[in-house]
Amino acid sequence: MIVITTRGLGGLRAALLGSVAAELMAAASRPVVVLSEAAAADAA
């Protein structure tokens, strides 16, 4: 399992999901746990 955070990018966050996170989500052979800026703040 892979855990990765993605940083907020203003109003275009959905379109501009971090490139590393997007690549992992598309290509990883294991589940990828993605923490958005809001989720990371809650997790801290």
Partner: protein
């Protein structure tokens, strides 16, 4: 029973694997599983899917919600209503073009959901039965505050699963490793970790 693992499924062929992963995670963390399916029209349009989800789970009483509306918005609303601890979705990745055609719903949810989003691979043979065999949580970090928070989350998750935590800090050139060492010291303080090995160190 603790918090909620919310699983969003569609009627694609990958839905079974997404559902199995959510079920496994809820069991492993002793949390409640709720399945949500979004339909464009009447909620009754999802009756067949509800039946197939319950059959796959082997539980006729499993909580399955069918909601209508925009998929990303409806799932996000359900995350908030349930105060979900995790959201599980499929990736719909497509090999080498995966980054370009990654499902728009998964992308939007991963970027904006208020809880961690577990994206289940659709192209590789990930199977829940393999979960115990992998037994590692790998966390990628850079020097950001968000990454440190992610590492703290990964540490907690690994402990709850009884898995090993591996923190990875990748740099494109060796000269940049010096600043990475500063980040490692901060991570060690946050996670109470022993020193992290450096390549060749």
């Amino acid at each position: 029973m603790g918090a909620t693992v919310l699983c969003a499924v569609d009627d694609s062929g990958a839905a079974g694997r997404v559902l199995d992963t959510a079920c496994w995670l809820a069991d492993a963390l002793h949390e409640r599983l709720v399945v949500v399916h979004v339909v464009p029209g009447s909620a009754r349009d999802g009756d067949d899917l509800v039946a197939s989800v319950r059959a796959r789970l082997g539980d006729e009483q499993a909580e399955v919600r069918v909601v209508s509306g925009s998929p990303a918005e409806a799932v996000r609303d359900t995350v908030d209503e349930e105060d979900a601890a995790f959201l599980v979705v499929g990736s719909r990745g497509q090999g080498s073009l995966g980054a370009a055609v990654l499902g728009s719903v998964s992308r939007a949810l991963a970027a904006e959901a208020r809880c961690p989003v577990v994206v289940v691979p659709s192209v590789e043979p990930w199977a829940v039965a393999d979960g115990a065999a992998y037994a590692s949580v790998v966390c990628g970090v850079d020097g950001s505050d968000e990454a440190v928070a992610g590492a703290v989350f990964a540490d907690r998750l690994a402990k709850r699963l009884g898995w090993r935590l591996v923190v990875v800090h990748a740099r494109q050139n060796v000269r940049a490793m010096a600043s990475g060492v500063v980040g490692q010291a901060r991570l060690r303080r946050c996670l109470s970790l022993s020193p992290i090995a450096r390549p060749g160190g």
